[in-house]
Every structure is written in structure tokens, then in C-alpha cells.
């Protein structure tokens, strides 16, 4: 019983614990959990006030959802889901709200699973992935599109562009380009990519040849006036081909007349005024006014 008695030490412990408590209280005096600073982890962005810009989207989505309920076949469902995806994608472009981006991907994915044999659905999803900077997923979808339809030229050209510009996989890009050109010898981008691959490998002559073929193909397609959905890639391909040729004729194969000719060509296709001015400046610097 004696062992269980600690009365005589009670005052010692009371004082000891009180000192401990006072020490902690003094050390953290005024500390408030809700106001304690937290370090910075990532970038922050506070959005402005809400606008009515999303009202049309809500109406469109509601309409498409109703259509989806009424759809009976997988083909119909996949088309509607893709439209919903496009609607979200458009609003992502306007608002930069990543929720819309994710929803666009989600709906386009659902569209492609609804009709897995439809290569175009994979291709369009790939295009959207490419647009939001996810080249890996984009290439995957182009590959799936080609598995569904091995004659689908846009999937070949975009897979080639993705392989070359996104991943520096020159052999893959070359293979895709050659397959696309076999199906359509005027397929945009293909000659450009082949030309750039040649130039990378210091095969100047063959590179020039391919770039010229690209320009010819682009001019021909533009002249037919039936390339509205691909006009951006044609502009890009033609302007890049002209620019690279201009640079070649300014440096490795000096020829002022040809350089001038390709500068004019470049200026026709390029839409960015800063880049245009830079090209003119480069020309002036090389050949004088």
C-alpha cells in the first residue's frame, strides 16, 4: 500500500507540469491554426466574376443529352457523345476551364468506346489530345484509328507529324508518310516531314526535292478549294517548306532569286506578322535591301 502513495510528491509534479505548460504556452502564444502560414506548393489562380458566356453551352449540352436519351443505335450515340465532347472542347477553348477540357475528353472517349470500330472517332479524339498538348495519347488514338481503318490518310499524316514533331521518331514518321503518300500523293505534311527528315540527315538535295513536292501538293490542294478542314495544316506545311527552302538558298545553296521566290511564298502562307517581319529581316541581312 505504501508503494501506491504518491501524495508527498504531488506538489513536485504539479509544479513541474505547470512549468511545462507555461513554457509551451509562452512559446506558442498567439498561435492560431487557421492563420498559421502554409508554404507555397504550386501556382495559384483566382478566377474573376462569373459571366454568362457558358449559358449557350448549358443549353446545347441539355439538348444533346436529350438526343442521347432518344438515340437507339450505337452509331447515333457515339455521334451525339462526340458532339457533346466538341461542345465542351469549344468552351474549353473560350474559357480555359479545365473541367470542360476533361469533360470533352471523357465524352469523346465514351463516343469511341460506344463504336470501337469507328476509326474517325479515335482520330478526332487524337486531334483533341494533340490540341491540348497530350502527344502521347494523341499518337495512341491515331494508331487505334489506323487499326480500324488502314486507308485513313489524315490519321497517317497526323501520326507522322506527332512522331516527328512530338517524339523525334524519324523512322516511324517516315513510315507513316510513305503509307499516306501511297494512298494520296498530295497528302499534306507528308513531303514536308520527309524533307525535314532528309535535311536533318544532311541530305540537302533530296530534302529540297521533298519540300518542293510539299509546296506543289499544297498549292494544288488549295487551288482545288476543297481543303477547308485541313487548311491550317496546309498553310503550316507550305509556309514551313517555303521558309526552310528560303533559309537553304540563303546559306547552304546560295541563290538570291530562289531565296526571294520562297520568301514570297512564305509570306503568302504565313499569317503571323511577327514571323513575317523576322523572315524579311533575315533576307535583308543576307542579301541587303
Amino acid at each position: 500500500m505504501k508503494g501506491m502513495c504518491f501524495n508527498k510528491n504531488a506538489s513536485f509534479y504539479a509544479v513541474f507540469f505547470a512549468v511545462w505548460a507555461v513554457f509551451i504556452l509562452v512559446k506558442y502564444h498567439g498561435h492560431r491554426f487557421e492563420e498559421s502560414p502554409v508554404p507555397s506548393a504550386g501556382l495559384e489562380q483566382s478566377m474573376g466574376a462569373e459571366t454568362n458566356a457558358e449559358a449557350p453551352l448549358q443549353a446545347k449540352i441539355a439538348e444533346l443529352r436529350q438526343k442521347l436519351v432518344r438515340a437507339t443505335t450505337n452509331a447515333q450515340k457515339s455521334m451525339i457523345l462526340q458532339d457533346i465532347g466538341y461542345a465542351y472542347a469549344n468552351f474549353f477553348n473560350v474559357t480555359e476551364n479545365v473541367l470542360f477540357r476533361d469533360s470533352a475528353v471523357e465524352n469523346m472517349r465514351r463516343a469511341s468506346t460506344e463504336e470501337p470500330g469507328n476509326g474517325r472517332l479515335h482520330y478526332r479524339l487524337g486531334k483533341f489530345y494533340g490540341a491540348i498538348g497530350n502527344q502521347q495519347q494523341a499518337l495512341e488514338q491515331y494508331t487505334l484509328a489506323l487499326r480500324c481503318d488502314s486507308t485513313y490518310v489524315p490519321a497517317f499524316t497526323d501520326a507522322a507529324a506527332c512522331s516527328y514533331f512530338g517524339f523525334n521518331r524519324n523512322d516511324d514518321a517516315k513510315r507513316y508518310c510513305n503509307r499516306a503518300l501511297k494512298l494520296d500523293n498530295q497528302a499534306p505534311l507528308c513531303h514536308l516531314i520527309l524533307g525535314l527528315i532528309d535535311l536533318d540527315a544532311k541530305r540537302i538535295e533530296s530534302g529540297c526535292e521533298n519540300l518542293k513536292l510539299e509546296i506543289a501538293a499544297d498549292e494544288s490542294v488549295m487551288a482545288k478549294g476543297n481543303a477547308s478542314p485541313e487548311v491550317e495544316s496546309i498553310r503550316f506545311a507550305a509556309s514551313t517548306a517555303h521558309y526552310r527552302l528560303m533559309r537553304l538558298y540563303c546559306s547552304q545553296v546560295p541563290d538570291m532569286a530562289l531565296a526571294r521566290e520562297h520568301l514570297d511564298g512564305y509570306l503568302r502562307f504565313e499569317t503571323d506578322s511577327t514571323r513575317k517581319s523576322a523572315a524579311i529581316e533575315a533576307m535583308k541581312k543576307r542579301w541587303g535591301s
Partner: protein, 499 residues
């Protein structure tokens, strides 16, 4: 003279423990969530709002946690300093617990009193739970208080103050943590075996009456039964366990406790895993021997208690298996391990010394074992002190979202988040958790039903529920949400919910 006095040494041990606790002390609330809830419940009691979850919009009555620990925190929160004074109180309770342990052992296992107190004073698992607002240390304190009263009653007998004090105090563990029903069960059985029938009956009647009163004033529903039999509370769609699955779960938990949690709890977690595993296994073997031997001693309560306690924690869902459940029994495991060691020594000495026992040798071995355990736990404490306790990026972003909500939203805004208790303390806004359902409409329905105005799209590393349940629902109805604040690395958003 002074050095040979146990009273002197216990003062040193407590002083060392409190110095270490002061070094490890953090004034903030830890991120485990339970302490935030305990504190809020305490604040609710202290402010006269009853035992309610005041962080939820409807302030429902609390049905899960027993009220004693929140009441303790609530009492100390009356002294101001929000969580600071309650945290100090838990630290002091830890010191008092050590004192109780020492005096309890002096009357039951006098030869183990100092060694066990030393190991517990340096125990890193006990220390890490003494600077947070969790109920483990107060639970251990209440258990030891009841055991000391039981020992007093066992010696004095009668039906006086000690009789009633013991019977009443012994229900405290069950009203601090629900697992304390194992304490009640062991109390009843051990007192019956000691032929203290009046004590058993009085305790049982008090426990049943107190439980009845509590349920009457709160609710008859307890989520524990549901949680016990669910396959996974974070994935309710998986349903409930079958009997073979429950047996499998017990096996898995036993394995995890024996080979994962106990080595850390007993050896401080500073040894290489393999060494720790072997040592811990040896220690548990000794504890097992001590546990069996203890059934024949007047302290048999401990053996029954650990049996029931271990049974309950092994039935719990495996994702919740953790050090927390072991902390309240760490000193008891050390006692049984030393008792087992003593039994082995006695057995070996009887064989090799023809029945002559060497008290000096026995004490020397027990003290050496305790010194090794104390040293290992001391290293564990050093590791704790040097550990980087800074918030991880996911929590930083969660708190920064809470700060944004506090500054930029109306006071009555309701916010859905994965950790509404912590969010409430940080953002001062009420809220609730989104439904754990893969049915997007059900999740959206849950957000609408609670009239939430904002929602935190977290990117917690430790749980995937937001990605699994909330994100698909938002992706299905993005037009319902508008990003009002966003953070990167990892991406975390405050979303406004459109009506």
C-alpha cells in the same frame, strides 16, 4: 541514497519524457482528421451546443465517438488558445500516465516498475501520440487509473469509496474509445474469477446504465457495427464481409500487427527492418509466455484485457490497421514481455543451477533487456525529432484552398470536401463529405441535397476517393461547376456549385 530511491528515478524519467515532448510539440492540428473532429465535438460541448457535429450544416448528433475525450478537450478549450491548451492537457496527461504506470507497477510487479516506466517514457510510439489531440494517451491514463483502483480495492476489499471509485473509473476507457468495451469485459471476467462478485455486478450495472443514458441523450445508432462488417467503408458498394472473409481479415490484421506495427511500436522503428522483425518476434514470443503465465497471477485482468482488445482490433478493416491501436497497450505488452523473460530465466536457471535461483542475475537480465528497449526507443525519439514534419504539397494546397474560402466566401457558405472537420477549423466554414458512390447522379444528388455552394477538388496523395467518386461526377456535369480558385502541383481546385 538518492540514486537508490525509485521516487528519484521516476522524476528523472518524467522530466526526460516531458523535455522530449516539448521538443516534439507542434501547436497545429495534425492531418489525420480524428483530432480535428474530437476538438470540434469538444468545442460543441463547451459552447453548450450539446454533443453535435457542428462542422456539418445540419449539426447532427455525434454517434460514433464516445464523449469523454471530447468533453476533456472541451473543458480545456474553455481556457482559450483554441487547440493549444487542450494539446498541452494531453501532454500533461501523458506525464501523469507515466506516474500512474509506475505506482501501479510498484504494487503489482515491483521488480518491473522502473524498467517498464523507463521504456514507456522513451517510447517513440507513446510520445508521438502525446502531442496530438488523439484519445490513445487519455485512454491509457484512464485504464491505468482504473487498474490502480482495482488493485487498491483488491487489497482493501469492502464496498466503500474505493469499491465504487474502481467500478465507476473502469467504465472510463469505454467512454473514451469504443474498443474500451474490451476493458469492461476483462474487468467483469477477472473480478468474477477473483470472486469479487459485487464489484463485477456494480461495474456492469454502472456501465449499462451509463451507456443507456448516453444513447438516450444522443442516438441509438452506432456506425461501428456497420464499419466492422463492411468490406471497405471507402467503397460501400463492395458490401459486407462473409464469415470466411472475416477470418481472413483477422489473419491479415494479425500478420500486419505482428510483423509491421508491433516492431515499430515496441522498438521505436529505428532498426533495419529484418533485425527489427527478429527482435520484435522474440519480444512477442516472450510477451506470449508472460501472457499465459499472467493468467495464474492476481493481475490476470491484463491477460483477459489484451485478449479481447487484440480480438477487436484484428476484426477491424485492414486499411485502418495502425500504430494508433497498439499505443494504449504498449506498457502492458512490455510488462508481459518482461514477465515472459523472467519466466524463461527462471526455467533456465532451474535446469542449470539445480533449482537455485539467482535474483541478481535475473534482475540484471531484465534490466539489460529494458535498457536495450529504452535505447532503441530513444533512437526512435531522436528520429522523430529530426523527422521532417512539414506538410506535403497535397495538404498545403488543401489548406490554401481553405484559406481562400475563408477570405472570399460568405460566412454561411457550405463546402464539400474530403476532410470537412479540418476544413471547418481552417476555413471556418461548415461542410460535409461527398457520397462515396460511383453513381455520378448520386454524388451530384448528395451535393445538391446538402445545399453545398462550394466543393474542394483535392488531389490527396493518401486517398483516391476524390478521384474515384467526385471527379467522374464533375466530369459528367461540368456545367454545374465553375472554378473559382485553382492551384497547381498538385492540381487542386475550389469549385463553385451552380444552382
Amino acid at each position: 541514497m538518492l540514486l537508490s530511491s525509485p521516487g528519484f528515478w521516476i522524476k528523472i524519467f518524467i522530466a526526460v519524457q516531458m523535455v522530449l515532448l516539448a521538443a516534439e510539440f507542434s501547436p497545429d492540428i495534425s492531418t489525420n482528421g480524428d483530432d480535428a473532429k474530437y476538438l470540434i465535438l469538444g468545442q460543441s460541448l463547451a459552447s453548450g451546443n450539446g454533443y453535435h457535429c457542428i462542422y456539418e450544416p445540419a449539426s447532427p448528433v455525434e454517434t460514433q465517438y464516445p464523449p469523454l475525450f471530447p468533453a476533456f478537450l472541451g473543458f480545456f478549450s474553455l481556457f482559450g488558445g483554441e487547440q493549444l491548451v487542450p494539446k498541452i492537457a494531453v501532454g500533461i496527461i501523458s506525464g501523469c500516465m507515466l506516474l500512474l504506470l509506475f505506482y501501479y507497477l510498484r504494487s503489482t510487479f515491483p521488480r518491473f516498475a522502473l524498467p517498464v516506466t523507463l521504456v514507456t517514457a522513451l517510447s517513440s510510439s507513446v510520445a508521438s501520440h502525446s502531442t496530438v489531440l488523439l484519445s490513445e494517451i487519455p485512454y491509457l491514463f484512464a485504464s491505468l487509473g482504473a487498474l490502480m483502483l482495482l488493485e487498491l480495492y483488491r487489497r482493501r476489499g469492502g464496498t466503500g469509496v474505493i469499491f465504487w471509485a474502481a467500478a465507476i473509473t473502469a467504465i472510463a476507457p469505454a467512454f473514451i474509445r469504443t474498443v474500451g468495451i474490451s476493458f469492461v469485459a476483462a474487468w467483469v471476467i477477472s473480478t468474477i474469477l477473483d470472486k469479487k462478485y459485487k464489484q463485477a455486478a456494480a461495474h456492469l450495472v454502472i456501465f449499462i446504465s451509463a451507456t443507456f443514458l448516453l444513447r438516450l441523450t444522443t442516438s441509438w445508432n452506432s456506425p461501428y457495427i456497420d464499419q466492422l462488417f463492411r468490406r471497405n467503408s471507402y467503397n460501400p458498394e463492395l458490401g459486407f464481409v462473409t464469415m470466411p472473409e472475416m477470418i481472413g481479415r483477422i489473419g491479415m490484421n494479425l500478420h500486419e500487427y505482428l510483423f509491421g506495427v508491433l516492431p515499430q511500436a515496441m522498438l521505436g522503428g529505428s532498426l533495419p527492418p529484418n533485425v527489427s522483425l527478429v527482435l520484435s518476434f522474440g519480444l512477442m514470443l516472450l510477451a506470449g509466455i508472460g501472457w499465459v503465465r499472467n493468467f495464474a497471477l492476481p493481475t490476470r485482468f491484463l491477460s483477459f484485457y489484451l485478449l479481447f482488445y487484440g480480438g477487436i482490433i484484428c476484426m477491424w478493416q485492414t486499411q485502418w490497421t495502425s500504430l494508433r491501436f497498439i499505443v494504449p497497450i504498449v506498457p502492458f505488452l512490455i510488462i508481459l514481455a518482461l514477465l515472459g523473460l523472467e519466466t524463461v530465466i527462471r526455467f533456465v536457471l532451474r535446469i542449470f543451477s539445480q533449482g537455485k535461483e539467482s535474483g541478481f542475475l535475473k534482475t540484471g537480465i531484465i534490466w539489460s533487456a529494458a535498457a536495450v528497449l529504452a535505447l532503441l526507443n530513444g533512437c526512435g525519439q531522436m528520429r522523430l525529432l529530426n523527422e521532417n514534419n512539414a506538410l506535403t504539397a497535397d495538404w498545403i494546397n488543401f489548406y490554401r484552398c481553405a484559406d481562400w474560402v475563408r477570405v472570399n466566401t460568405p460566412n454561411n457558405a457550405i463546402v464539400v470536401s474530403r476532410k470537412p472537420e479540418l476544413f471547418y477549423l481552417r476555413a471556418q466554414r461548415r461542410g460535409y463529405v461527398y457520397p462515396f458512390s460511383t453513381n455520378a447522379e448520386e454524388v451530384i444528388g448528395g451535393l445538391n441535397k446538402g445545399e453545398a455552394q462550394y466543393c474542394i477538388l483535392d488531389n490527396f496523395f493518401w486517398t483516391g476517393t476524390t478521384r474515384h467518386y467526385l471527379v467522374p461526377a464533375i466530369r459528367k456535369h461540368p456545367e454545374m461547376f465553375r472554378i473559382v480558385y485553382s492551384l497547381t502541383d498538385p492540381e487542386t481546385y475550389v469549385l463553385e456549385i451552380r444552382k
